[in-house]
Symmetry: C2
Subunit: 83 residues, 2 copies
């Protein structure tokens, strides 16, 4: 996976999940340092409607598998403490 491409793709995600992957909004999860495979399966579940969320569905709808793998690689590599 290409974390740099993931970073480029993550601009819209940062609005809720933070530019460093630590969310400023209590209801939205931190993504920094999360398990890469968990991020992939979550994004695919949102894309395919297996996991229902009105905010994430449109976010994930147009992501390709490659986009998803790159985003997951990017966030998994971020410092879980947000530095």
């Amino acid at each position: 996976a290409d974390a740099a491409a993931g970073k480029a793709k993550s601009v819209v995600c940062a609005a809720c999940h933070g530019t460093n992957g630590i969310s400023q909004i209590p209801m939205y999860p931190n993504l920094a340092g999360q398990k890469e495979q968990y991020l992939v399966s979550s994004l695919k579940a949102f894309r395919d409607g297996q996991r229902k969320n009105m905010i994430m569905a449109p976010m994930a709808a147009n992501l390709s598998d490659a986009d998803i793998e790159n985003l997951a690689a990017y966030y998994a590599k971020l410092d879980p403490a947000g530095k």
Copy 2:
């Protein structure tokens, strides 16, 4: 919420999510330092079947709201870097 009660309740969770809230299993998410409200809403979604997961459903089935709040408080306070 009572994080100490959450810690006592978390023994079964540690099997997959790690004793320090950092999972050793790629598909299972880290919980350490996650957003408390996100943890509460996730556990309730698993308990109520809004979020479908064969492993988490039985884990959450018997949790009371207080258990869920205590577990969320416990995990949210753990060091996201797992120390």
